[in-house]
C-alpha cells in the first residue's frame, strides 16, 4: 500500500456513525474521516429520536462534536448516499466505507385496519414532535378522547408521555413548535398502552416506567389483576429475571395499589397480556379490538404470549400509535440480509453474497446488529468495527481507491450537491437554534424545514 493517507467515509452521522468516527480516530490517528448525512443536521436519533423531555441525554451532542468534528472529521450533510452519490462512487474515492444508516422504518402489526387514517407508526409521531424535516407536515388528529399505544418498549413510553405531558412543561424543551401547538390543542384524556406479554416481560426500562407513574396531573392506572403474575412468570422472575424486570414488577405493583385519583385531567392505562386484533372504522380509526393472552413456555424455555379464549374487547379510540420495532431498509449497491434486516457482516466487516468479506465495506450500529440496545451500546459496537477496519489497514489488505485524495470527492460533491452542509453550515444552524432557544428560555428552538435549515447554514 502506498503512503497515501487512508480516507474513510462514514455514511450516517447518527450515534453509531459518531461513535465509529471517534473509535476510528482512537485506533488509527492518521486516517481522514468524512461523515455523510442525509439530513442537513448531524446526530441522527439523538436529535430526532430521544424525547424532548430527556434533554440531559441530548447533551451527548457536545461529546460527539468534540470527538469528531473538532478532531478534523469533515461533515457532508444534506447528501444522501444511494441518491446523490452511489456506493460505487464512494468506493472510488475512499479506502473504506462504514455504513451507519440505522433502521429507518417500522415493523407493521399485520392486522386488518392497520392502514386506516389515524393509525400510525409511533416512529413517525416521534420524528414529527422532534422536528425531523421529512415528518414536520404530518397531521395527527388529536381531537379524540382516547389514544391507544401498541407496544411496551421505550418508544411506546416516550409517545405515551408526549401525549399526556403538561404542554407548559413541554414548552420548556426543544420540542418542535408545530408539535407543541398541536399538543396544546389535544383533547386526548386517556392513553391506553397495550402489551402482548405480562408485567414481568415488559420491555420498558424501569426508568421509563417510573416516569410514567410520576407525571404531573396524570393518573397512571394498572389493574391489580393485571400485575398478578402467572406461575411461569413468577418462577422466571425469581430464577432468571433481570434486575430491571424485578424493578418493573415492583413498580407496577406499587402503581396498582394506588388509590384512584379525581384531581387529574389525563390518564395513562397500562394493559398487559393484550393483543390488537383489528382496527375498526369507516373513514378512519374509531375503535380497536383486543384479544386476551396467556403466558406459555416455548420449547427453548423462553416465555411467550398465546391467545387465550375467544373473548374480544372493543375500545373506542381516535388515534393508534404502534411501536413494535424498527427495521432497516436495503441500501442500493450493498448486500442486504432480507431475513435479519441488516448488512450481512462479521464483527462489522460486510460480507459479499459468496460469504467472503467485501473489502473496504463495514457496518456499525443498527444496520450491523439490528435495532437493539441503547445509545451507549453503539460505543462497544463501534469499537469492534473500528478494530476490524484498523486491522485491515494495518495488514494492507484494502486496495487503494481510484481517487485517493480529497480533491476528487470535493469536486464531485460541488457538482452534485451545491446545497451541501459542512461543519460551518451546521455550526451556523446550531448557533441560531441555541440563540433562539436562549431568547425563549428553552434549551434549543429547532428549525424543522429543509429550507429554513439550509438558509441558516448559508449565513
Amino acid at each position: 500500500m502506498s503512503r497515501e493517507t487512508a480516507r474513510i467515509a462514514v455514511v450516517g452521522a447518527g450515534p453509531a456513525g459518531a461513535f465509529a468516527a471517534d473509535r476510528l480516530l482512537r485506533a488509527r490517528g492518521d486516517v481522514e474521516i468524512d461523515l455523510f448525512e442525509r439530513l442537513p443536521t448531524p446526530w441522527g436519533l439523538l436529535r430526532a429520536g430521544v424525547a424532548p423531555d430527556h434533554q440531559e441525554i441530548k447533551r451527548l451532542d457536545e461529546t460527539f462534536h468534540r470527538q469528531t468534528l473538532e478532531r478534523g472529521c469533515r461533515l457532508f450533510a444534506n447528501v444522501e448516499v444511494g441518491v446523490d452519490l452511489s456506493h460505487e462512487e464512494l468506493m472510488r474515492h475512499y479506502t473504506a466505507v462504514v455504513y451507519a444508516t440505522g433502521a429507518q422504518t417500522d415493523k407493521s402489526l399485520g392486522i386488518p385496519g392497520e392502514e386506516l387514517p389515524g393509525s400510525w407508526p409511533a416512529t413517525e409521531f416521534v420524528a414529527w414532535y422532534n422536528g425531523h424535516p421529512d415528518y414536520r407536515d404530518l397531521e395527527f388528529d388529536l381531537s379524540g378522547r382516547r389514544a391507544v399505544v401498541i407496544g411496551n418498549g421505550n418508544v411506546a413510553a416516550d409517545v405515551t408521555r408526549m401525549l399526556t405531558l403538561d404542554p407548559d412543561e413541554l414548552a420548556r424543551t426543544d420540542v418542535a413548535d408545530h408539535a407543541l401547538e398541536a399538543l396544546r390543542e389535544s383533547r386526548i384524556e386517556e392513553v391506553v398502552v397495550l402489551g402482548r406479554r405480562g408485567p414481568a416481560q415488559a420491555a420498558f426500562t424501569s426508568a421509563e416506567l417510573r416516569e410514567l407513574g410520576r407525571l404531573g396531573g396524570v393518573e397512571l392506572r394498572v389493574s391489580p389483576e393485571d400485575v398478578e403474575l402467572d406461575p411461569l412468570s413468577e418462577r422466571w422472575l425469581a430464577e432468571r429475571g433481570t434486575f430491571t424486570a424485578r424493578t418493573n414488577v415492583a413498580l407496577l405493583r406499587e402503581f396498582a395499589g394506588r388509590a384512584p385519583r379525581t384531581d387529574t385531567t389525563r390518564r395513562i392505562v397500562l394493559r398487559f397480556l393484550s393483543s390488537p386484533l383489528e382496527l375498526r372504522g369507516d373513514e378512519r380509526v374509531e375503535a380497536i379490538d383486543i384479544g386476551r393472552n396467556e403466558i406459555v413456555e416455548s420449547g427453548d424455555g423462553s416465555l411467550r404470549p398465546r391467545a387465550a379464549g375467544d373473548d374480544v374487547e372493543t375500545i373506542e379510540c381516535g388515534l393508534v400509535l404502534r411501536s413494535v420495532g424498527y427495521r432497516a431498509v436495503p441500501l442500493p449497491g450493498v448486500p442486504f440480509d432480507e431475513r435479519s434486516f441488516i448488512l450481512p457482516n462479521d464483527s462489522g466487516r460486510v460480507r459479499a453474497p459468496d460469504g467472503k468479506p467485501l473489502l473496504g465495506v463495514y457496518a456499525v450500529g443498527w444496520i450491523k446488529r439490528g435495532p437493539t440496545g441503547i445509545l451507549g451500546t453503539n460505543k462497544r459496537d463501534a469499537e469492534e468495527t473500528a478494530r476490524c477496519l484498523a486491522e485491515d489497514l494495518d495488514s494492507g489488505s484494502l486496495p487503494v481507491p481510484e481517487h485517493p485524495g480529497r480533491d476528487g470527492i470535493d469536486a464531485l460533491l460541488a457538482e452534485r450537491k451545491p446545497e451541501l452542509v459542512t461543519v460551518d453550515g451546521w455550526r451556523a444552524i446550531d448557533a441560531l437554534e441555541l440563540r433562539t432557544g436562549k431568547e425563549q428560555e428553552r434549551p434549543r428552538v429547532k428549525l424543522s424545514s429543509r429550507e429554513e435549515l439550509l438558509a441558516a447554514a448559508r449565513r
Binding site: 447533551r59 417510573r210 416516569e211 430464577e239 441503547i374
Partner: protein, 95 residues
C-alpha cells in the same frame, strides 16, 4: 456519602474506565451487562472521588446529597443492585 447513577444513564462506559476503585457495575463483558438498563455505583465501595461525574457525557452521575428530586429514587436503586445476588450468579444457580 456516595455517588449515584440516575436513569438517564446511556451505558456509555466512560465512568467504568474512570473509576479508580472499580465500583461501577455491570462492566462491559459481564454476563448481565447487555440486559442492564443502566450502570450502578456500589455505595459501599465508592470513595467519592468525582472521576465518574467528570467522565459521564450526559451528566447522569450525582453526589448523593446533590441528586435532583426527580432522580431521588436512584440512591436506593443503586444500592439495591448490589444488595441482591447478581443476575450472573442467579443464572448460574438456575442452570
Amino acid at each position: 456519602m456516595t455517588y449515584v447513577i440516575a436513569g438517564s444513564c446511556i451505558k456509555d462506559d466512560s465512568c467504568v474506565e474512570a473509576c479508580p476503585v472499580d465500583c461501577i457495575h455491570p462492566k462491559p463483558g459481564a454476563p448481565d451487562f447487555e440486559t442492564a438498563e443502566q450502570l450502578y455505583i456500589d455505595p459501599d465501595m465508592c470513595i467519592d472521588c468525582d472521576a465518574c461525574v467528570e467522565a459521564c457525557p450526559v451528566d447522569a452521575v450525582f453526589a448523593d446529597f446533590e441528586t435532583p428530586e426527580k432522580f431521588a429514587y436512584a440512591l436506593e436503586l443503586n444500592a439495591a443492585f448490589f444488595a441482591e445476588e447478581s443476575t450472573a450468579e442467579r443464572t448460574r444457580a438456575a442452570a
